[in-house]
Symmetry: C2
Subunit: 340 residues, 2 copies
Amino acid sequence: MEPIEGRRREILRIVIDDYIATAEPIGSDAVRERHGLNVSSATVRNEMAALEEMGFLNQPHTSAGRVPTDRGYRVYVDSLVTEEPLSRVEQTRLRETLFTRDKPQGAIAHVAHALAAGTDYASVVEAPHLQDQVIRHLHLIPLTPHRALIVVVTDAGVFEGKTVELGAPTAPEECDRLSQEISRRIAGWRLGDLTVRAMDQVIGEASLYRQVVTEVGRLVGDQITASWSRIHTDGQANILRQPEFRDARRAEPVLSALERHEVVAELLHDGGTAPIRITIGAEHRREEVRDCSVVAATYYVGGRPAGELAIVGPTRMRYGRAISLVRFLADTLGEALGRV
Amino acid sequence: MEPIEGRRREILRIVIDDYIATAEPIGSDAVRERHGLNVSSATVRNEMAALEEMGFLNQPHTSAGRVPTDRGYRVYVDSLVTEEPLSRVEQTRLRETLFTRDKPQGAIAHVAHALAAGTDYASVVEAPHLQDQVIRHLHLIPLTPHRALIVVVTDAGVFEGKTVELGAPTAPEECDRLSQEISRRIAGWRLGDLTVRAMDQVIGEASLYRQVVTEVGRLVGDQITASWSRIHTDGQANILRQPEFRDARRAEPVLSALERHEVVAELLHDGGTAPIRITIGAEHRREEVRDCSVVAATYYVGGRPAGELAIVGPTRMRYGRAISLVRFLADTLGEALGRV
DNA sequence: GTTTAGCACTCTGAAGCGGTGAGTGCTAAT
DNA sequence: ATTAGCACTCACCGCTTCAGAGTGCTAAAC
């Protein structure tokens, strides 16, 4: 595909910019008037016809203006869009609210809210992956003499896990002793390495240790597959405010998808490993979100990828704004979580 | 207001039942045909005119059938509706999934899902109130030498709270000792009674205790006001499937309200103290949900009210079904949480 | 060769207009 | 009190008309 350049490129940018702003097809006259293009509308028309030929624009019907295609948006985000950097005050405001939360849960929810409120689209934030995190302590919290709750403290936060059945009645003091003992042995491990097989070497036959460790392993495994508790969504109602979703039957599949966390996980992880990943309309594997674009990023805690966050909106999205916000919040969230 | 009786009452029930089922205005003929009424349509018309006069029915326009008013729905839920009890298999299926979760969080999410999936409406579930719960243990989980996380185990679950700054560097063993000590003194208290004032009598001047207790008190206070972490919503997309919300602009205020947890809290707590509370359309204080009805219930843990759950749908709601499901899940959730 | 003025053309969307049918209220007979 | 009969009302559907927006094409201009 030959690169688009010069005036033609400029016109494509203008059409998409304006369409994003107005949600109405853009005519040749509008392009000429609204920006100081020193050419006639006929010239613009020729260029637009060419751009349509190339598959970047589309006419809803013969006598309407042009609308970007998914491929048009693709070149737009790849080479035309100008980021809209966050203002100083916005940055500090976001930073402050984020750094005053102490539970990771709170930070996650707050980032989701900030993404949604800052863009008028929906947002999705995934809590830190467990398997890559490094264990600091493990605590057994006695619930009854026969059951205890496992709490794991890692470098990226605190996670309560399953309850574990204790073979014999165990006093709280004994739980503490056990916790210390287990912590001492597994501190520094990656959670993902905490398998029964690996444990055998360190712990041997001590049956209670084994049981606790098995439960933690299961916790990690569960969180990877059944991610319900790890995904936080916000701003779904924003979708309904977009003119392309005026009809609830268009919006319904999208909102349904956002409620199904396995679908959301797919949205978050599609699209490679770039720092900012953008998936546009028909590029999605999921039918339900073919009218949507997703701007996603990975956030890092302690230098390791910890989780994903994204904005979900119509393909007619303010990409410049979305990219800036996603990038900033990914950075800030990682930073905030890193300080335990 | 005189009570409605006999045939007239029956006709009101039929109109509302049918309207709930079809979402279309109900004509006199439909009423006669679809149910074995042994009267002519003219008679039905007279009755329906009377019911309109009384304010229970309404005509969208002169030549249409009748539609229930909010007041009509009110008498319907108060005296006409027949509950639709859950089938045996449904009961056991719900019970099983609910009793195999061990974290209260999981149970809450699952109840929300069951309410939504079982009705095609939206659902809201509030996690157990903190202030009424009885403390079993309190644990300090060391994060760094200077900070610890407070975890409280009560009779209705486990709650991780704020982190607390430890005045002096404190070893894990010391944290355990402290936890034991504090737990011993405050076990059996209501969380709501855990104020600094009350503590002074028991603990006196020991400054670290005080600090921990203050943080727990603040946690309880925060959870009461800032309830974001306590409310779980599901099935919002179901709302979009209802014909009355075909237009996204109608649905938007509702979904926005469901995303704002302070509004949801209001929905849950309005309407008195009955075991099942139903609020219909214009009865709501909130403008945004004037097209909706809410069927809410309180669930009890250990005999004390612990939290609320509700179904949110159009005023044209299958009340019989909603009531049964809400009641059953309130009971079951309370039971499940009660077993720690 | 590119640009542009001019113009015919196409298509949407709004407005206007009977016809149809559902459902009503009223009246008079039962 | 009920009901048959009937005139009436009004949303809805399909049809036509009309204006306006925006186009593509052609031929002239730069």
